[in-house]
């Protein structure tokens, strides 16, 4: 599984403080820790409190590029901040994210082509979050059609079925699993699937257990990537064991070490 570490996000107080004081050390340490824990890419989000999001994004990406060449997922809703982040991060980055309405796809998909990036498309549009898997599938199909029209290979789409907290809506985890399976039938090569995992447990007790269990279920449904807390090592162990049981990795006695 392609793991995108979620911790460089201004929602965390330490990150917000580092951004505010332009202190690179905590950011770079978080990057190193996440990569050592098995992250393939790092999500980069300046957070809601940043006074000047564009300048904050510039500083964050530059700060990260001083210590790593890893893929970066530029996490913002603002196209101008996104474009600047992609420019500084370089090819192979991830746009996180575009919503599924046509106007947004028309902005972010050409941007992905221009910057040789992949793009996370949330299955949410002007009508909100669909009630079931069919509604999510329709939005994913719109994204695939737009990608083909704009010249973006469909496997550079990362469809996010938009998970909601299980204590808010209990049928949603099932709908998202169904979406993960259905998306693979939309094109050849099919789009990638991704999940903003931690949202499933928002506001619940036993958050780690819920995250871990749902990740394993989603992997079994064919999930390709997740934005998650890679520093949660029991969860990463469960992910690695899942890869083994799905025959995506060859067994050996030290399979945890081998994966890392």
């Amino acid at each position: 599984m392609y793991a995108i570490g979620e911790r460089i996000n201004g929602m965390f107080k330490s990150v917000a403080a580092a951004i505010q004081t332009q202190n690179p050390e905590p950011i770079q340490q978080l990057a190193k820790d996440q990569l050592a824990a098995g992250a393939n890419a790092l999500d980069v989000n300046v957070g809601p409190a940043a006074a000047e999001p564009k300048a904050a994004m510039e500083w964050l990406v530059k700060t990260l590029r001083e210590v790593t060449d890893a893929d970066l997922a530029i996490d913002t809703t603002r196209p101008d901040v996104m474009a600047r982040g992609l420019e500084l991060a370089g090819p192979g980055s991830i746009i996180n994210s575009s919503k599924g309405q046509q106007e947004q796809l028309d902005i972010f998909l050409p941007m992905a082509v221009q910057h040789e990036a992949s793009v996370v498309v949330l299955t949410i549009d002007e009508n909100g979050i669909p009630r079931d898997a069919n509604g999510r599938g329709e939005i994913a199909l719109r994204a695939v059609a737009t990608a083909m029209e704009k010249g973006l290979p469909p496997d550079r789409l990362m469809i996010d079925g938009v998970i909601l907290p299980v204590n808010v809506t209990q049928p949603t985890p099932g709908h998202v699993l169904e979406t993960i399976r259905n998306v693979k039938l939309l094109s050849d090569p099919p789009p990638q699937t991704v999940l903003g995992l931690s949202n499933v447990s928002q506001g619940t007790t036993q958050r780690a257990l819920i995250n871990r269990t749902y990740l394993v279920m989603a992997l079994a449904a064919g999930l390709d990537a997740a934005i998650l807390d890679v520093l949660d090592s029991p969860m990463m162990d469960a992910m690695i064991a899942s890869e083994l049981l799905l025959n995506n990795a060859v067994y050996c006695d030290d399979f945890l070490k081998a994966y890392r």
């Binding site: 995506n248 990795a249 060859v250 067994y251 050996c252 006695d253 030290d254 070490k257 081998a258």
Partner: protein, 323 residues
């Protein structure tokens, strides 16, 4: 409708390993070999690169072979009691890319040769030929742990390929390869899980994965060839899927395995319906090697010069850009 070649996209590649060191690199070899680097299943040139051709190492024993089949005795002739002369013949007459010196005489149940005697043999072969050398222990763990470090030491600087490290006995040989800067063969008994485990154990000692060649054990035609092939295939697929613990080039001991088969060695007086014995073993060995070539083997340890010649011809035809 025009035909479109189905092309797989792979994320990984086989690692590249160079064996042998010339004077410029601190050794005395006149040639070196580089294997690996493949970015597709074997020889699918429309899909990826096969940057280095597979190579042929010819096997030389440190003591005269016992109960050799007649065609082998005839091919090697009177040099079989002199490893240096035998190695020279393999290079000069049979065109070997490498020599695989197997120290079978070190085995306590065989000649029980000492570490010093084995090291002298290694030295004499290094002096006799300019091609890179594979140095292979007798397979008895305790004795190998005595013999191989000494052989490694006398070959220091030559960038040899030393074998083998196994799941139960890997520390001494790995340390020797690290100290004297050789490449290492990791061995598993036809078991991809153990193969991966040995590689992890060796890398945990700080040994660089890019200095390993894998030997997953060889089954000759009729004696497990398909099983060995399927392991090679799965190993290659894992390498292409970026499993760095299974991304090393592979080696096969084709000659010694094939010539064990009764089909290769039984005389035609006993089994006249099997045809002439002077062709049978050669074909047995060449057919096995050709199969492994398609399975993704990079280094072939061969016995009979005619089998080696047939294999070389097949490699030529597969590696040719015009093919």
């Amino acid at each position: 409708m025009p035909f479109e070649m189905p092309v797989e996209k792979w994320s990984g590649a086989v690692s590249t390993v160079t064996i042998g060191a010339t004077a410029a690199e601190g050794g005395t070899r006149t040639s070196v070999v580089t294997v690996g680097g493949d970015t597709s299943l074997p020889f699918l040139q429309f899909e990826g690169e096969t940057p280095h051709r597979p190579v042929i190492a010819m096997e030389v024993l440190d003591v005269p072979p016992e109960e050799w089949p007649a065609p082998m005795a005839e091919a090697v002739g009177d040099v079989s009691n002199d490893p240096a002369a035998w190695a020279r013949k393999c290079v000069d007459e049979f065109g070997a890319d490498m020599i695989c010196l197997r120290l079978v005489g070190a085995h306590p149940d065989q000649a029980d040769r000492s570490a010093e005697e084995c090291a002298q043999t290694v030295k004499s072969v290094l002096e006799a030929v300019g091609v890179p050398l594979i140095i292979w222990g007798c397979g008895q763990a305790d004795k190998d742990n005595e013999v191989l470090p000494r052989c490694s030491e006398v070959a220091a600087g030559e960038n040899c390929l030393l074998g083998t490290a196994t799941q139960d006995n890997y520390k001494t040989i790995t340390a020797a390869c690290m100290a004297d800067n050789h490449k290492l063969i990791t061995e598993a008994p036809l078991d991809i899980n153990i193969q991966k485990q040995v590689n992890i154990l060796v890398s945990e000692m700080g040994f660089d994965l890019s200095r390993i060649v894998m030997y997953q054990s060889t089954g000759g035609l009729g004696y497990g060839m398909e099983y060995a092939y399927s392991i090679m295939e799965r190993t290659r697929l894992s390498a292409l899927a970026s499993d760095r613990m299974l991304s090393m080039p592979m080696l096969a001991l084709v000659g010694s395995e094939c010539w064990k088969a009764k089909e290769a060695r039984t005389s035609e007086e006993v089994t006249p319906e099997w045809g002439p014995v002077d062709k049978r073993g050669v074909v047995w060995e060449a057919a096995t090697a050709t199969s492994f070539l398609h399975g993704g083997t990079h280094i072939f340890v061969m016995w009979h010069p005619q089998a080696a010649a047939l294999l070389r011809k097949t490699i030529d035809s597969l590696i040719s850009k015009e093919a």
